[in-house]
């Protein structure tokens, strides 16, 4: 009778258990799997968190998404005045404003992205301590939110190109690839920083400082040609350098520096993989120490 009852209950409620557990919870081994399938399963959450970050950023502002243009635009004006006009900075025969803007644009995106994503886990501690989902989603969503600003800011670049009558070449086709590359680099660095930030809140103070230094070791306000040739290899160790150069080549129709771009791609991949594994290793402590 009991058996029958149990059976009828099963059929009524449609409960049929899988033979293997869906989830096994146990202390993780020192070697951790990335569990990308889990990440894929939660892709909607990634999308919605990105959407949230974008919406919240410009809520109750008068100018809204215009801020995405205003910031790099005024930075460009100031740089043009001080570096272009007063200091007479060379710019590879490209009008200085647009030269600076093509550098500033990806850099601003990168800087904001690593800053936001570095602080993202701590900022979302209420989620981390209350619900399960792949933690990687949080720093990735922060980078994704910055991507929209980045693309909006491109509008101004196109206006500037018309203004200075720079004609487009097929080089422009590489831009989507470059955007993805910059985003991946930002995810790599941001994810790593965010995980470290959970344990060491010093990161919050270190990041702005690192970003400032990064701005000067990357050819944004000056062309790479300004650096003595024997030192250029050293500069290429900064993955943003190859990318900024590639953006300029793409917009101004100049030949690519494949060597520095290749180094950038390689470094970006290494950073991404390194920080993904590091993140996974530190992830299990997040809820306990955040």
């Amino acid at each position: 009778m009991k058996q029958v009852l149990a059976n009828s209950k099963e059929s009524k409620t449609g409960v049929s258990l899988p033979s293997k557990p869906l989830v096994v919870i146990e202390p993780s081994k020192s070697w951790v799997a990335l569990n990308l399938r889990d990440l894929w399963h939660y892709r909607d959450l990634l999308y919605i968190l990105t959407e949230r970050d974008i919406k919240v950023r410009y809520k109750q502002t008068v100018l809204g998404a215009l801020w995405a243009i205003i910031q790099p635009f005024f930075t460009m004006l100031i740089f043009t005045l001080f570096f272009g006009k007063l200091a007479g900075m060379p710019s590879d025969n490209i009008p200085y404003p647009i030269f600076a803007y093509t550098g500033l644009l990806p850099w601003t995106f990168f800087a904001n992205a690593i800053n936001n994503s570095g602080n993202s886990l701590v900022g979302n501690s209420n989620l981390i301590t209350k619900v399960y989902f792949p933690r990687m989603i949080i720093p990735i969503a922060s980078v994704g939110a910055g991507l929209v600003d980045f693309i909006v800011a491109f509008i101004l670049l196109i206006v500037l190109m018309f203004y200075y009558q720079i004609s487009l070449t097929f080089n422009i086709l590489i831009v989507p690839f470059l955007i993805i590359l910059t985003a991946i680099l930002a995810i790599g660095v941001g994810m790593w920083m965010s995980a470290l930030n959970v344990k060491y809140r010093d990161i919050r103070h270190v990041l702005p400082f690192l970003i400032q230094i990064g701005m000067f070791v990357t050819p944004i306000i000056y062309p790479t040609s300004l650096v003595p040739e024997k030192w250029q290899w050293l500069m290429a160790l900064n993955p943003m350098m190859g990318q900024i150069e590639a953006y300029r080549s793409a917009f101004f129709g100049k030949p690519f520096n494949w060597f520095s771009l290749a180094i950038s791609v390689g470094l970006t991949c290494i950073i991404l993989i390194y920080s993904a594994y590091n993140f996974k290793r530190m992830e299990r402590q997040f809820a306990d120490i955040v």
């Binding site: 989830v23 096994v24 968190l49 809520k59 989620l127 619900v131 060491y200 809820a287």
Partner: protein, 411 residues
């Protein structure tokens, strides 16, 4: 049948030091090292470690609704956190044969600047729902929360009641196979609480497995078939809900359920020697389910039986409201009685869940008080699952009244 949740020797250890200073930054570490240079290299020893859970093993069958009870700090929340994969266990293993959704807080991730609608999507996604699934249920969720008019208003303008209703509405529409719920029903107004309890019961009737932490024994008794009692990180009892609740309440009740006369009482002409409280099975206890009989026996000594004397029982609740009085006439005893017993029986379904104290009086009406013992004995009544459980914690009267109600359609 095969269990849907299988927990084996689960243990979770926290390092106490790490709890005290989670934000240990670089400068602090340096000063720490300078202060005690060898401490830094010392491995945290056993006294710095603290087991929030130890050796927990149990199995839960599909469709079961299980309550988890225990005092604050017993490990209930840690257990839920491990089961919902928020934190990793230190030892042991959990096997889950179904999708889990956990609800440790209502409105996790709600953003004040976003509208009700946007927050439904956000909260739903955080709880593991797909976008399409949320979109399909949107109307139902809005309807359940009763906030149609404000659905496009940022939630920062919501009243706290609306906020909670919206948050719970999203959670109530989750469709996992295993639902893990922390004490979230403690919020919201009575009517909404009732609605949520109803919804949770629907959930369990739909064959879903529910794990439920609450301090309200009435809700546990009403919703759960089984319960698990934790104490200091260990599993103490895993049995039928009513049994576990009773055990827990009795164990918790430090107040006495018996009375013994103080040594100098024998000078009185009549006095109460002892009193006990027990149930219909003659088992002495201090905590009763609402549908159990409560027996009180007094053993009295007498030099003589005072004429027209009576033995009075006064039942007072925790707020010092006198619930009722019962008098027993002692005239029936013959004159040379030296010792006698007075028994009272409080029928089931009279006293509401509450803590009670008893006052015993031996007196002659309008003339004389022979003996009066205040707070002689204490006992409590808990809700073993009545329809009033949803109002637990609120004032819904001092007794279950036999008041009858009927409903008739007029037009």
């Amino acid at each position: 049948m095969k269990p849907i949740i299988k927990v084996e020797n689960l243990g979770k250890q926290y390092t106490v030091g790490a709890i005290q200073k989670p934000n240990g930054n670089f400068r602090e570490s340096i000063t720490e090292i300078l202060k005690s240079p060898f401490n830094f290299f010392r491995k945290p020893d056993e006294k710095d470690k603290f087991w929030a859970l130890k050796n927990i093993s149990f199995e839960i069958q599909p469709g079961e609704v299980v309550g988890i009870i225990g005092r604050n700090g017993a490990g209930k929340s840690t257990l839920l956190k491990v089961l919902s994969r928020i934190t990793e266990p230190t030892l042991g293993k959990v096997e889950l044969y179904g999708k889990v959704a956990s609800l440790l807080e209502v409105g996790t991730g709600f953003h004040p600047e976003l509208t009700g609608r946007e927050n439904i999507f956000l909260n739903g996604a955080i709880l593991g729902m797909r976008r399409g699934e949320i979109a399909k249920k949107l109307d139902e969720i809005v309807d359940f929360a009763g906030i149609e008019k404000f659905i496009d208003t940022p939630v920062k303008h919501y009243s706290s009641g609306m906020y909670v209703r919206l948050a719970f509405a999203v959670a109530a529409h989750l469709e996992p196979e295993i639902l893990v719920v922390d004490e979230v029903l403690a919020v919201g107004d009575a009517e909404f609480r009732k609605k949520c309890l109803g919804k949770m019961q629907d959930v369990s009737k739909g064959g879903r497995t529910v794990l439920f932490v609450s301090h309200q024994m009435g809700s546990i008794a009403q919703l759960c078939q089984n319960a698990i009692l934790l104490d200091q990180g260990s599993l103490v009892m895993n049995d039928k809900a009513n049994k576990v609740i009773e055990f827990y309440l009795n164990q918790n009740n430090i107040k006495r359920g018996t009375y013994h006369a103080p040594p100098n009482s024998s000078e009185k002409v009549m006095f109460i020697k002892s009193a006990i409280v027990y149930d219909e099975n003659k088992i002495e206890k201090t905590s009763f389910q609402h549908d159990e009989e409560i027996h009180i026996d007094l053993i009295c000594s007498a030099k003589e039986i005072v004429r027209y004397s009576e033995a009075r029982l006064v039942v007072r609740d925790a707020r010092n409201v006198t619930v009722f009085t019962a008098d027993a006439e002692l005239n029936l005893l013959d004159e040379n009685t030296k010792e006698f017993e007075v028994s009272y029986r409080i029928p089931p379904n009279i006293l509401r869940p509450n803590n009670y104290s008893l006052i015993f009086v031996l007196f002659v009406p309008h003339q004389l008080t022979i003996e009066l013992i205040e707070d002689a004995v204490f006992f409590s009544v808990f809700d073993g699952g009545t329809k009033y459980a949803q109002s637990e914690g609120m004032d819904y009267g001092v007794v279950f009244s036999p008041c009858e109600s009927s409903v008739r359609k007029i037009a």
